[in-house]
Amino acid sequence: MSKPSDLVQGTLDLLLLKILALEPMNGYAISLRLKQVSGEVLQVSDGSLYPALHKLEQEGWITAEWKPTENNRRAKFYSLTRLGKTQLEKESANWGRLSSAISNIVKLKEA
């Protein structure tokens, strides 16, 4: 499965879980939200978004449901499961540790 090259491994999962933790959404809305909240910094191609979503679904972290949209079309809405919530907490903690570690290193003064 292809992964966006500019994203650290596993971070896409974290982003998706976090976005879905706020409210259930369909794939298209997720892609918009990703761009919007990251200030267009994070570019996730549509081609890799859906496999990632399906993977999360297979893992049992998110669940999907076909529901009508505001303009009366059927779309697949994803929402976080209890298992996903735990996973999100775990991954955010991991991310916190990792990013602070990295920023500490980056901030080191050169001798």
Binding site: D46, G47, S48, Y50, Q58, G60, K76, T81
Partner: protein, 897 residues
């Protein structure tokens, strides 16, 4: 966490597996929605509809790839691939029905035979005995004093010894003595003679089985005067008493006494069966009823006839029990020096006693069937290899399209496992037939034969063998077929010569080993066949033609002393001799092949024994005048017993040739004196010498034996003698008139164990016959499989060499040259196989030594005949393809690609 995880994901996986259409289409719809949304945005921004759609598509990237990636995340990869391989494999097998049939059948024969043999092993060796905690049930057996030959390693217990044991502190939770007896059941419609056991009170507790109806004996009932209680076997209860539950407390007449029925044992409890106890006890096939043994408080001595069984106190090991028994021995010897050397026991676990001698025949069977299975596997491996060569282009193409080697091997293995599993299914039928065969022809002394079934462990074993063989025969061709360098293969594939140099070598190796293995098996079968026919031709000291034998179990109540018994036999002999068709009649304690007689210590004035240990032993057999005539044993020297040898005339004896040779070599036994060891009994004058008569098996070593006239016998028990009648016509047809004659003397007396001497002799050979039939059929199977393999290899090579043969013929080779060339190729392989097989057989057949009789393990005749047989069969298998090679049309062959 893990379990919870599965709780969520399992339904999704299952949905993926079973709702494939859903999985395939769902992503399309979802992605379509995404595209449509984007398109709407661009439309709203003012782009044309065509442009908006294109832009949306472009931004999305590879749509189909994304769909495929989505599907990939949802597929249950392993199972899907497996299903795909299975579907493909089934299609391939279906397309080649010939190959499939041969491969499945070949393997099924191998697996079926193996499964049948394993069902035996499972029933005999692996299943625990049907008693609670069977490992603590043991037989304390009395061991012969060193240097004394009693004919068997163990000898029976005496009543005094058993009392000494029970009064001492012994290692048993429960210990019991028992001996067999026959019981005449009267007072029902048909008097019957039943095999039963007199058992002491702890017999059932020692085994840990209680009656299913009523109760076992109490200690009070196990005392002289109170012993008229009986426990029935389930079968006896059903057959003779109509499974009547009110039988408890009722009296039945056994040997003329009224016995009260106190219990009925559960179905299947028939302990002890003959095959479960040392053969020297000569026990009946199975027990039908049990009565108390009632050993008196102070036994008076008398013959030693008891077997002893005990359940060890819990937690006691065999070694500890053995040590405890040595103390018992020491106490007994201290009390009475007469026990010195005669009270040594060895604790033998019941399981080991029962399994005992059967391990060797089972090993033989396992070895033989293993060879058959190996041949079958290598045969199928060869078939697969042949086919894989034909499919090389397919594999090359798959490899070129990106299939990894592991993936190719996996697909190959899936196909061979499919073959193996189908074969496993077919083999269940064959195994069932095999089990029927074993049950029908299996020797009666094979313990627990009745318990042999196709049960779950056996089916599991069949499955295991199928899978193992599938991998075994599938792996080599799979490795071989996929090892190829892609480029070479593509180049090769376009040419017709395309046999890579490694494959024929592998195929030839497989073939040569098949021939070698088949040779080993057929040689073994040949040796056993010669043994069997040698045994049949062996002179057992009697002539079994047209002799009827049966037992007359006299009631001790009616025939209270010696004179009554003798009078009865005299009367019986007179009447039997006058039955039309009877040529001669005689009575004996045993009949040939009817079991072992009694053995006793003897004294001979000209061979005085210095010590008790040197006491000579001999079989001591009571017979009547006319007995030797009836079983067809001639008198070598001297005379037979006469009617004039009576209790008042001079006591006389006959001895067998073995005894004469041992004690009076060169001078002859006639006129010498011999008698039982105890001086209480008179010495007997030897008046005749007879050939050695064999008792149990034609292959037994003969031991010294002396014969005593029944009219002169000072021994107490003569209630159960056997009758032998030589008849003019078919002896079996005489049974009715003989029964009539006996009934006219004693209407309550049944005829027991009616059998012709031929039947007894045949029964005694059931073990060698079974070994012969078994190895014979396995050998035949091996031969068949090896010739199929031979045919396959040669005929494939002819196909491969069609072009070459065509060229040769175009250049002037004649049909017979080509024929010779193909046959030569076959002959080389067969020759190599036979040479290897002969070496292997020389190394293996000595393992058979204990099964052989009258033939050496390296019998050159057998080896030569079998080699020729194999050459003949193999050449026959080559003949067809060789003939085909001569009919190759050069023009067609050359144009062929």
């Amino acid at each position: 966490m893990r379990a919870k995880h599965w709780f969520y994901t399992l339904p999704l996986r299952l949905r993926s597996l079973f709702r494939r259409d859903h999985v395939e289409h769902e992503p399309s719809e979802e992605l379509q929605f995404h595209l449509d949304q984007k398109t709407r945005v661009y439309l709203a921004a003012g782009l044309s509809s065509e442009e908006a759609r294109r832009k949306a598509r472009r931004e999305f990237g590879g749509l189909e790839q994304a769909k495929e990636n989505c599907r990939d995340t949802r597929r249950v990869g392993f199972i899907e691939t497996l299903l795909q391989d299975v579907r493909y494999g089934l299609r391939m097998l279906h397309k080649n029905p010939g190959f499939t049939a041969v491969a499945v059948l070949t393997l099924a024969l191998g697996i079926g035979a193996t499964t049948a043999v394993f069902s035996l092993v499972s029933a005999i060796l692996l299943k625990p005995l049907p008693f609670p905690n069977p490992d603590s049930i043991v037989l304390p057996e009395l061991v012969s004093p060193p240097g004394v030959n009693l004919g068997s390693e163990y000898f029976p217990w005496g009543q005094t010894q058993f009392r000494l044991l029970t009064r001492d502190s012994h290692p048993f939770q429960a210990v019991a003595a028992f001996q067999n007896d026959s019981f005449n059941l009267t007072g029902t419609d048909d008097p019957a003679s039943l095999d039963g056991f007199r058992v002491s009170a702890d017999f059932f507790p020692a085994l840990g089985i209680s009656p299913s109806l009523g109760r076992a004996f109490t200690t009070e009932e196990d005392q002289p005067g109170h012993e008229y209680e009986v426990v029935l076997s389930d079968r006896l209860w059903r057959e003779h008493f109509g499974a009547d539950r009110t039988i408890l407390g009722r009296a039945v007449r056994l040997n003329g006494y009224a016995y009260t029925v106190v219990g009925v044992m559960p179905a299947g409890f028939l302990f002890p069966r003959a095959e479960e106890m040392p053969s020297s006890f000569n026990f009946p096939r199975e027990a039908q009823l049990w009565v108390p043994l009632a050993i008196p408080e102070a036994p008076k001595g008398g013959p030693s006839e008891l077997a002893v069984i005990g359940r060890l106190k819990s937690g006691l090991t065999i070694q500890q029990a053995q040590a405890a028994m040595e103390l018992v021995t020491k106490h007994a010897e201290a009390k009475d020096p007469q026990w010195k050397g005669w009270f040594n026991t060895r604790i033998v676990p019941l399981t080991r006693q029962i399994v005992g001698d059967t391990q060797r025949p089972l090993q033989l069977m396992l070895g033989a069937v293993g060879i058959v299975l190996l041949i079958a596997c290598s045969n199928v491996a060869n078939l697969l290899l042949t086919r894989s060569l034909g499919r090389r282009r397919e594999f090359t193409l798959r490899a070129a399209l990106g299939a990894g080697r592991a993936r190719l091997i996996r697909q190959f293995l899936t196909e061979s496992l499919l073959v193996a599993i189908s074969a496993g299914a077919v083999s269940i039928l064959l195994a069932n037939a095999g089990i029927y065969f074993v049950k029908t022809f299996g020797p009666s002394n094979l313990p627990r034969l009745r318990e042999v079934t196709l049960d779950l462990p056996v089916l599991g074993f069949a499955l295991f063998v199928s899978l193992a063989t599938g991998i075994l025969f599938g792996l080599a061709p799979a490795m071989g077929a996929t090892r190829k360098n892609l480029v070479d293969s593509l180049k090769e594939g376009s040419q017709r010569t395309g046999v890579s140099p490694t494959s024929p070598r592998l195929r030839s190796t497989l073939l040569v080993s098949q021939v070698a293995l088949a040779l080993v098996l057929v040689v073994s079968a040949g040796l056993l066949t010669r043994t069997f026919f040698h045994l049949r031709g062996t002179n057992g000291g009697f002539n079994p033609d047209r002799v009827l034998t049966f037992q007359l179990p006299l009631s001790a109540l009616k025939y209270v002393d010696q004179s009554h018994i003798v009078a009865f036999y005299q009367d019986a002999l007179r009447r039997l001799r006058s039955v039309p068709g009877v040529l001669s009649a005689g009575i004996g304690e045993t009949v040939p092949m009817g079991g072992e007689g009694e053995s006793t210590g003897i004294r001979m004035p000209d061979h005085p024994a210095a010590t008790q240990k040197e006491l000579p032993f001999a079989n001591y057999t009571i017979i009547s005048p006319g007995y030797l005539d009836s079983v067809g044993t001639p008198i070598l020297r001297g005379r037979d017993f006469l009617d004039s040898d009576t209790a008042d005339s001079m006591p006389v004896a006959l001895v067998n040739a073995a005894m004469e040779k041992k004690y009076w070599p060169g001078q002859g036994a006639l006129g010498k004196q011999v008698g039982p060891a105890s001086a209480r009994y008179p010495l007997l004058a030897i008046v005749g010498v007879v050939p050695d008569i064999k008792h149990i098996s034609l292959r037994e070593e003969t031991v010294p034996e002396m014969y005593v006239a029944y009219t002169q016998k000072p021994w107490p028990s003569m209630l159960n003698l056997r009758v032998a009648l030589r008849t003019k016509t078919d002896p079996a047809s005489m049974t009715a008139s003989v029964r009539e004659a006996i009934r006219s003397i004693d209407p309550d007396l049944p005829l027991a164990n009616v059998a012709t001497l031929i039947t007894l002799t045949d029964d005694s050979m059931s073990q060698p016959r079974f070994s012969m039939l078994l190895l014979g059929s396995f050998g035949l199977l091996a031969l068949l499989l090896a010739s199929i393999g031979m045919y396959g290899v040669i005929s494939y090579s002819v196909t491969q060499r069609t072009q070459e043969i065509g060229i040769r013929m175009a250049l002037g080779a004649e049909g017979r040259n080509v024929f010779g060339m193909v046959m030569g190729q076959g002959a080389r392989l067969v020759g190599l196989g036979i040479a290897l097989g002969l070496v292997a057989a020389l190394g293996v057949t000595h393992l058979l030594a204990s099964f052989l009789y009258g033939v050496q393990a390296t019998d050159p005749f057998t080896f030569a005949v079998v080699s020729l047989l194999l050459v003949g069969t193999a050449l026959l298998a080559c003949y067809v393809p060789a003939r085909r090679a001569t009919r190759v049309d050069p023009m067609v062959a050359l144009r062929h690609e």
